[in-house]
């Protein structure tokens, strides 16, 4: 039975090979067939102004992470709400009250986040 299961994945394997091959062909063709005459004008940074002054990887404030994490948290809530709302007819009242419970607990978390001052920027 595992046999048939694996067989069903052959198109994906085929797609993987084709895409790797295609990428190699396109990159390789432009590398080997194209005429390359580099000069300072061509290899320098263009269209975006000038060379950067410093490394772009520097420390930045932990508050950005905090906001991002909180955003993901409340965004996921909406992700749960949509399928729940669509399938409300099929799930029993158990499903309904489960979501209400979830929302309630999320609200407790929100109160905690608010009172502890995680939402304040300054």
């Amino acid at each position: 039975m595992m046999y048939f299961l694996i067989e069903e994945y052959y198109p994906i394997l085929l797609l993987l090979f084709i895409s790797i091959g295609l990428a190699l062909v396109i990159l390789g063709a432009s590398y080997f067939l194209g005429i390359q005459r580099p000069d300072t004008e061509k290899t320098s940074v263009y269209e975006c102004g000038f060379d950067p002054y410093e490394d772009s990887r520097n420390k930045f404030d932990v508050r950005f992470y905090l906001v991002a994490i909180l955003f993901i948290l409340f965004d996921l809530e909406a992700m749960f709400l949509f399928p729940w709302a669509v399938s409300l007819g099929q799930i029993s009242s158990m499903g309904f009250w489960t979501m209400i419970d979830f929302l309630f607990e999320l609200t407790v978390g929100f109160v905690y986040v608010w009172k502890i001052g995680a939402l304040e920027w300054e």
Partner: protein
């Protein structure tokens, strides 16, 4: 019917019309009993929510002067856990599967939950002072402990791969944060990060195994697995190799979580780096929950694959016992030493796991209980050591020196606890170890038992060295007696009493563990 309707708040009427009324009635009839079974968990969860709101409002209120809540929260958590214990203890139904077979309630789960709750009450009792001393002033610390206990309670009674995974994640996420609780210490942060990375790796293994199982069988429910595999004949059954791989992945995740030997690398670092109050919690509590759920998984649900699991169990048992005994010989820090000693004890537990018999399972559970008692007493000795001189430094073996002279009672209890860990009669540790070796020998695992017995001789060296340090070595600043806190001495007294008592009359826990073990067969 009117009685039923009146006892519950009805949903909105237009929603009621969506459903067949009959089904609706059945739903409440069913849920009534289901709700009774999860009442302890619901109580614990509700108290966590209440405490969260209460503390976040109070700790930030200007009119109360931003009070430090940690001073009273230890007591509050103990109260909550004690009430939860009463609720667990008070249910009259001995067996039930609830919420579409997602959770199981039987003698095993009830007893393991009670043990978890009692031992976490003791952990909180002995570590309360330390939490204040370490200046962990976040009230979240206690909420996280309660959340971890809630996760462990769900883990014990989970009967579906999804609920198992979610419960494992719930407890381990709380434990990661507990490991990193001391925000200004880089050791604690490092411990938390290490624990998080390796823990999520093991969770990924667990998920991988579960997904392979799901791909083969098409269900995640333990009950369906049991029905599927119980009547199977293995000749011509093409799924066997992939199910074996899945079981290996799941057991690897399990060995990660209990820190069995080739997967033990995180545990000494985490034990050492984490604040001591969190280390006590990791060291004592999660093992029994993990063992109970994986015993159910490997003994009952996948009982027909016992041949596959026998070899990895024996291998991990031997390796953990050897590494736990030999590496601990060279440890200088107390917490690392205890981490390695716990690895070797996991090895003995796995030896009992691989002895595929009722006696093996029973001796495993018995050993777990005795081990928890012993480690509670050892940790309360460690916490009572004088640390006022060098507060920041982690405790080394020399901190134990001359305790036996300066505080004879503490030294004597410490000696008894270490002797019990080493397995010296007349203490309960000896009896538990003997049970394990007897059951493994009667399952004719001669080689593994021989290795384990020899390593246990080696490991008794470092326990005896600790006792020697306590009695015969001299350290200048230990001549001043620092009083042991009341809760520590209480815990120490109770555990030491049980270590003696259970050697002479072990039938109390033997009957209990037998009842628990019978559930699995």
């Amino acid at each position: 019917m009117s009685f039923l309707l009146s006892t519950y708040v009805l949903p909105r009427l237009d929603l009621v019309e969506l459903f067949d009324l009959n089904q609706y009635m059945d739903f409440f009839l069913l849920q009534q009993n289901h709700f009774k079974m999860v009442l302890p968990e619901v109580f614990l969860a509700t108290s966590i929510l209440v405490i969260t709101i209460h503390s976040s409002l109070l700790a930030t209120s200007r009119s109360f002067g931003f009070p430090l809540l940690t001073k009273s929260f230890g007591k509050l958590c103990i109260l909550v856990l004690a009430l939860t214990f009463l609720l667990v203890n008070n249910n009259s139904i001995t067996f039930m599967l609830i919420y579409q077979n997602t959770f199981i309630f039987d003698v095993l789960t009830t007893n393991v939950k009670e043990i978890i709750l009692i031992s976490s009450i003791f952990c909180l009792l002995i570590s309360e002072e330390t939490i204040l001393k370490q200046q962990i002033n976040n009230f979240e610390y206690f909420i996280l402990i309660l959340c971890a206990i809630l996760g462990l309670m769900f883990l014990v009674s989970s009967y579906d791969m999804i609920s198992l995974y979610l419960a494992v994640e719930m407890q381990s996420l709380c434990l990661y944060v507990l490991a990193a609780a001391k925000k200004d210490s880089s050791f604690s942060t490092e411990a938390g990060l290490k624990y998080f990375i390796l823990g999520s790796f093991s969770s990924a293994l667990l998920l991988f195994g579960i997904s392979i199982l799901y791909g083969c069988v098409g269900t995640t429910n333990f009950d369906s697995f049991y029905l599927f595999f119980s009547g199977i004949s293995f000749e011509g059954f093409t799924l066997t190799p992939s199910i074996e791989k899945a079981l290996l992945c799941i057991s690897a995740a399990f060995f990660f979580k209990i820190a069995a030997a080739p997967f033990h690398m995180w545990s000494p670092d985490v034990y050492e780096g984490a604040p001591t109050s969190s280390t006590i919690f990791f060291a004592v509590i999660p093992k029994i929950a993990l063992f109970s759920v994986f015993l159910r998984l490997f003994k009952t649900i996948f009982g027909s694959f016992e041949e596959t699991l026998l070899f990895p169990l024996m291998f991990f048992s031997i390796v953990s016992v050897i590494i736990g005994s030999f590496v601990a010989l060279r440890q200088k820090k107390l917490k690392r030493l205890l981490a390695y000693s716990s690895i070797s004890h996991v090895g003995y537990l796995l030896l009992a796991f691989s002895a595929n018999s009722l006696e093996g399972t029973q001796s495993l559970l018995f050993y777990l209980i005795i081990y928890m008692l012993t480690s509670l007493s050892i940790w309360s000795v460690v916490l009572s050591l004088n640390t006022s001189v060098n507060k920041e430094k982690s405790k080394t073996l020399i901190d134990l020196a001359s305790i036996g002279n300066s505080n004879p009672l503490l030294g004597f209890s410490g000696m008894l606890a270490f002797f019990s860990l080493a397995g010296v009669p007349p203490l309960a540790g000896f009896f538990a170890k003997m049970e394990i070796f007897v059951s493994s020998l009667s399952a004719s695992l001669f080689f593994v038992s021989l290795v384990a017995i020899l390593s246990s001789v080696i490991s008794s060296f470092y326990y005896i060295r600790l006792i020697k340090t306590m009695y015969f070595e001299v350290k200048e600043d230990n001549f001043f007696v620092f009083p042991v806190t009341r809760s520590c001495s209480l815990t120490l007294g109770i555990t030491i009493f049980f270590l003696f008592f259970l050697f002479f009359n072990p039938s109390l826990f033997l009957i209990l563990t037998q009842k628990m073990a019978i559930c699995l067969y």
